[in-house]
């Protein structure tokens, strides 16, 4: 294999370039190989298999078809086959490869992806968990542009256990920040963020390389902040969650969590979340759609960071 990358902590080898993705500085033995291959939807009638309109999966494989763009097949924990459709652009293929395919691949390896951005204040990391559209990336970008924080991740986040310190930690494992058009201005105000490029044709979201910005080392996870929406007029609600409730709430922020059960990963996931929340504070903040970003950031600073 000619090309080597580190994607979400996995050593990836392939015979083709992954677009703008930076090559691994010191490639190790591959965890995953990407192979080009003609693919077809798996046959009907397999046992214990989920058949959806565009995907088929069980505990052995995961197949996904993005019409007009690509077909993907994950076999076991370490092999991804992909077929680019005629006329499709590689960038479009990579958009789905880095999202659904890598999330499933990690899940098969019992590594779970949080819907979260992570920022470092010195040696402490804050994880902002939120669903799409609640401003995870904007919050991280704004804290980096205006408050001297360092972005570690901006949309999807993995947590690693450090056996030596006995803590969970966060390090950058996807070296980009992804911003929608109205937020592109943040990128030029954050030190170490490079020029961006469109994630996909006709999607107004850009991917900006941040490998020169992110902390070089892993940072200890200090707090988890869950961001939700309320229906109050410009009112921020806040509480701290304790006990077993932390597990129940935090586990809902796992990307593609509906696939945990069919892939046989529910128990491993529950165990992982239980360990993650054990040593950290979990804060819950509910903001209104009309709450302005500076007000929200000040609240986060006063109530949580301080």
């Amino acid at each position: 294999m000619k090309y080597h990358y580190e994607v979400f902590g996995l050593q990836v080898s392939c015979s083709f370039k992954l677009g703008h993705y930076p090559p691994a500085p010191s490639p190790g033995a591959p965890d995953v190989v990407l192979i080009k291959k003609k693919l077809a939807r798996p046959v009907d009638g397999l046992d214990q298999t989920v058949y959806k309109p565009y995907s088929v999966y069980n505990q052995d494989f995961y197949y996904l078809e993005i019409s007009g763009i690509a077909r993907f097949l994950i076999q076991g924990k370490d092999t991804v086959y992909l077929e680019k459709m005629p006329g499709a652009k590689w960038n479009d293929v990579f958009a789905f490869l880095f999202d659904t395919i890598f999330t499933v691949l990690l899940m098969k390896n019992e590594i779970f992806v949080f819907h979260a951005s992570a920022v470092a204040f010195g040696r402490k990391a804050l994880l902002f968990c939120a669903g799409g559209g609640l401003g995870k990336s904007t919050l991280a970008a704004s804290l980096a542009a205006n408050r001297g924080a360092r972005i570690i991740e901006d949309d999807r986040c993995l947590l690693e256990f450090n056996k030596r310190s006995g803590n969970f930690q966060v390090r950058n494992q996807f070296p980009f920040i992804e911003l929608w058009k109205p937020q592109h201005g943040f990128a030029s105000r954050i030190k170490g963020v490079d020029k961006g490029y469109a994630i996909r044709t006709a999607i107004a979201k850009k991917r900006f390389p941040i490998h020169a910005h992110v902390p070089a080392r892993a940072v200890r996870l200090d707090k988890i902040v869950l961001v939700n929406m309320n229906q109050m007029e410009d009112k921020i609600e806040y509480d701290q969650i304790t006990g077993i409730e932390k597990v129940r709430v935090v586990k809902n922020y796992t990307h593609l969590d509906h696939m945990l059960k069919p892939l046989g990963k529910s128990t491993a996931h529950f165990k992982h979340i239980s360990q993650v929340v054990q040593g950290v504070e979990v804060h819950r903040v509910r903001k209104s759609r009309s709450t302005k970003l500076p007000k929200f950031i000040k609240f986060i600073e006063d109530e949580i960071i301080a």
């Binding site: 309109p53 995907s55 019409s67 659904t100 559209g133 006709a202 979201k205």
Partner: protein, 285 residues
């Protein structure tokens, strides 16, 4: 009624309307029929067609990575699959116009559609209510309702992160025509004004035409639970999560003909000129 819905599982009734035309009222009525109570923040009907959550769960793909046309090409399959797992026939709210994908197929899957209940309201009353809902002026709303490519939940500058997918509605007349003129699925037409005058008779008719046998007594009880004044009072007491944050209340006046106090004669003439043919067709002129 639940047993009858269970017998028809795998199918859906689309509750289609231009916004502010009585869809929420109908959903509250249905919730009352099914459960004997109305909790406005947990109306037990079956969500909205444009739910990003349903789409993402069925496709395993983050819909924010797809173009609007790519989403449309998948909608029919998404609902065919989604309905396979529902224990009963669903009643799903829709604000989209009846449109087609790039392959020329309707975005609403014909094979799993049981009926469409199309709720329509005099556009003169819709204007005032929709203006309040969007926190915009009457004139802005008149223009929006006359836009051939009018959308709901479509964000500016290509931003696409709303929890509802963008919904192409056309202009008000285009929305009505798209549903009433298509020949693929049966439509039960409900005029808001008729329902206001005779709620028991009209709600009963809608359910009967949808093949559901219910007694008038039961309908009457549900109508009482979903009475406008009661919904308005509930909103005042506990709030309503579907309300636009920028406005005071979702349940405003609910009146028919209230436009006479809220629109100027020029504004009335503009709406009538913009939608003359469709208003005539529906008996509003």
């Amino acid at each position: 009624m639940l047993e009858q819905l269970q017998e028809k599982k795998g199918k859906v009734v689309w509750m289609a309307s231009y916004p502010k035309s009585g869809n929420t009222w109908f959903r509250c009525f249905l919730a009352a029929m099914l459960t004997g109570k109305v909790n406005i923040n947990h109306i037990n009907t079956d969500g909205i067609f444009s739910s990003r959550h349903v789409f993402d769960q069925v496709t395993d793909v983050d819909s924010r990575l797809l173009t609007e046309e790519e989403v449309k090409l998948r909608m029919a399959d998404v609902y065919r699959y989604h309905l396979k797992f529902s224990p009963k026939m669903e009643f799903t709210k829709v604000h989209d116009a009846y449109t087609y994908d790039l392959d020329g197929q309707p975005i609403f899957p014909t094979d799993v559609t049981h009926k469409v209940i199309y709720l329509v309201r005099n556009p003169l009353d819709v204007v005032a209510s929709f203006a309040n809902h969007n926190s915009s002026t009457i004139d802005q709303t008149i223009r929006l309702m006359n836009k051939p490519n009018g959308y709901l939940a479509r964000q500016k500058n290509g931003l696409n992160i709303n929890n509802q997918l963008p919904q192409l509605m056309f202009d008000w007349s285009g929305h009505v025509r798209s549903w009433l003129d298509q020949k693929n699925v049966d439509v039960i037409l409900m005029r808001y004004e008729d329902t206001k005058k005779d709620p028991v008779g009209n709600f009963h008719r809608a359910l009967s035409e949808a093949g559901l046998k219910v007694t008038k007594k039961r309908v009457k009880e549900a109508v009482a639970l979903a009475k406008f004044d009661r919904l308005k009072k509930l909103e005042e007491e506990v709030g309503f999560r579907e309300k636009n944050i920028a406005v005071k209340a979702f349940f405003r006046s609910g009146k028919s003909g209230g436009y006479k106090d809220e629109l100027t004669s020029d504004q009335i003439k503009t709406v009538q000129k913009n939608h003359r043919r469709t208003m005539k067709r529906l008996g509003y002129l």
